[in-house]
Assembly symmetry: C2
Homo-oligomer: 428 residues x 2
């Protein structure tokens, strides 16, 4: 029997703001960061996980993870199934959310680290570990509280059982062809026109059939940039736009109306991620332009309502915002029930590495479908990971290494540690 | 000119779980806690504020407040108006919410401390300071983003101007008669039947016309306790019930149906505070029993939707959950627009002390109304405050001391400091 014998938490920050990588209408100068956690065991592999932030406050996020250490120390690594339920059910910690913000993201980080550990011990990539679970086992991973008016445990079981017959065939397809991706790399708001044009052309040359542009700061700029990008990619490549929560409801409707001539495929985060009714109003007014959101949606209860209200065409789950793999399974099941495609949010630090597993599990064992589904891809910081994503021909290749692809190289933990790692000491 | 020259943050915990004070269906053993902040100035009074938690994680909440120190140090104390806007607008910190959880409560704590400081410097209690502001000044305190589909700045101005003529008369009434209260003291779930009966009778003898009972853990227990309480208080005293988020939607409807014979005045927190559509469904099914929520509602965007969806009959703002006084002004204005009475959540550590100022400001300068309005009162921990609430004859008396009534006695900061204060060292 192996136990968790030490928990390391590191405040890592990458100075991405120096080149305006990741800049958008709400986030002009992010320093992509990770509050990174390692579950050390006394026998066999360790487990790795993290919460993603964009700089200031990453120390608070790390403190949130450290506060969970007493729940982890000494635990049997083959008995981590109850961890998520125990953490989200802790009545005192719950007050700090409930199920939102720093404490919920901290729970997500350690739950994901426990899944990384479980997959390594099983010698399988996480997507495969999950896809091989029996439907009864999968529904037990979900916290069913607050869901029953939209999805019952029985309905979820039926969804999973319906997907069982085709599992092997879809797994083979996935291993052969990968999973479709789209790229955000051309579209950061801080990039000049020529860089947008060049990167948009490059994206098409690289095999992507969808790109995304950041919008929402200045309408004239957006018109000019969308024209440039549309000319660069031609009429058949999908162009999504992303406002990063910049607008009120009426403003979103007016702005999208003005950009309609460039045939936007979806409008992402048009307003507050908490505004279910606002998204529903925007969707009614902007159709047929699709409405997408999710990267800042705090938990399954808000996703439930976005689906109940018919507020979204595209559900963008995030691997490091909600309560880890367990809550994302609930979200995948909700999306399958309502027939809404899941197109995960990625980028940042390691989000591509994580979400690919969730999307591939969904394809093999939940929705069984690729229609309308793409995983975001941003070409940042992958070199720092031990098992980085492989995107070729506009598709994510199925990971084969055991685990959740969450591990950073050990020297990265030293180099980018904030504020005392060499990358930051040089800065001062 | 005075400046902020030091910021102290203290992790304070009170061992309330020893006597099951504050116990309910979701929170069986809270240790009422405060992440407490003092803004020290180089001339004149200091400012005091806090976030309220129920124990574990209060260290994370304190870390959240400490992370805001750089935004506070050196600031001119007469120029704190922009503080709220600057903090909620900080793009990197915003990622940790946005506007929810630990980081948002931290912002609320320092914004409230800044208001405490401003009111002390003005030599007036906060409710009076706010009530004397010009309507144009009040609307400038609000972050209008995401609100315009429900309430515009112009509509808010009209609400405030409509209330102007009666301000002096209502202020005199408030000073003479106080503001109505209700008491939760009889109803904690951990209390035995005899204690419930005795405290319910005592509440009526003390002049309260409304009490509240915790429910939701066991239906038979709830029936028995409500029968005892109804017999004790008679048919004319209002009895609210509070499930503390324990139920799914259908479960809430069935439970309330069974308790209907005891004439519950409102059902509070029947389900997740994030579930706008769920509350709306419960309200439709449970009428005429009122639906109340708010103590865990993360921000003005969720309150906006609860009002837009017709999901609540009673809005229970909390002084230490959202982004401080500024965001609560937005919430009071939204409630006034939709004609929904505000009955603030209180209890905990110092929440009674804070919310009385907001409710009194509302009465004098916003809604101008007391109909259906009561402030929660719980008789806990007031002795630790320098300017504790005074509740007599079932009514809060208007505070007269300068400030926001947020200051704890200095010896309390030493005695209850966690984990090294004497109250906790004895525990070990």
């Amino acid at each position: 029997m192996a136990r968790i014998v030490a928990v390391d938490v590191v405040d890592l920050r990458f100075p991405t703001s120096r080149h305006l990588d990741g800049s958008d209408a709400m986030n002009p100068d992010p320093d992509y960061s990770a509050a990174y956690v390692v579950l050390h065991t006394d026998d066999g592999p360790d487990g790795h996980g993290f919460a993603f932030t964009i700089g200031r406050g990453n120390d608070v996020q790390a403190a949130g993870i450290r506060a969970l250490t007493p729940y982890l120390m000494g635990r049997d690594v083959d008995d981590l199934d109850g961890l998520y339920h125990e953490l989200v059910g802790d009545s005192q910690l719950r007050w700090l959310g409930p199920e939102k913000g720093v404490m919920h993201m901290a729970i997500g980080a350690v739950v994901n680290a426990a899944w990384d550990l479980a997959a390594r011990r099983a010698g399988r990539p996480l997507w495969k570990l999950l896809a091989d679970l029996a439907p009864e086992r999968i529904v037990d991973l979900v916290d069913w509280r607050y869901l029953s008016d939209a999805l019952t445990r029985g309905e979820a079981l039926a969804i999973l059982r319906r997907a069982q017959p085709g599992r092997a065939e879809r797994e083979a397809l996935l291993r052969a062809d990968g999973y479709p991706a789209y790229t955000t790399s051309p579209g950061w708001l801080g990039y000049g026109d020529e860089k947008v044009r060049r990167l948009a052309k490059q994206a098409v040359a690289d095999g992507f059939t969808q790109i995304k542009l950041k919008v929402g700061a200045d309408l004239d700029d957006d018109v000019r940039r969308m024209r440039i990008a549309r000319e660069a990619v031609g009429p058949d490549v999908r162009m999504a736009i992303d406002a990063n929560q910049r607008w009120d409801v009426d403003e979103a409707v007016r702005w999208v109306e003005r950009l309609r001539e460039f045939d936007p495929y979806w409008v992402e985060e048009p307003t507050s991620p908490d505004d279910v009714l606002g998204h529903a109003a925007i969707r009614r007014a902007c159709a047929p332009v699709r409405v997408a959101t999710g990267e800042h949606v705090a938990n399954r209860v808000v996703f439930k309502q976005l689906l109940q209200a018919g507020a979204i065409d595209v559900l963008q789950l995030d691997a490091a915002r909600v309560g880890g793999v367990n809550e994302n399974i609930a979200i995948l099941l909700l999306a399958a029930k309502f027939g809404v495609p899941v197109c995960p949010h990625a980028g940042g630090v390691g989000l591509c590495e994580l979400v690919q597993h969730l999307a591939m599990f969904d394809f093999v064992a939940v929705s069984g479908d690729l229609a309308g589904r793409v995983i975001e891809y941003v070409d940042h910081l992958h070199e720092h990971f031990v098992d980085p994503v492989v995107v070729r021909g506009g598709r994510y290749r199925a990971p084969t290494a055991p685990g959740f692809s969450a591990q950073l190289h050990p020297q990265i933990l030293r180099r980018f540690r904030y504020p005392d790692g060499p990358e930051w000491r040089l800065e001062r």
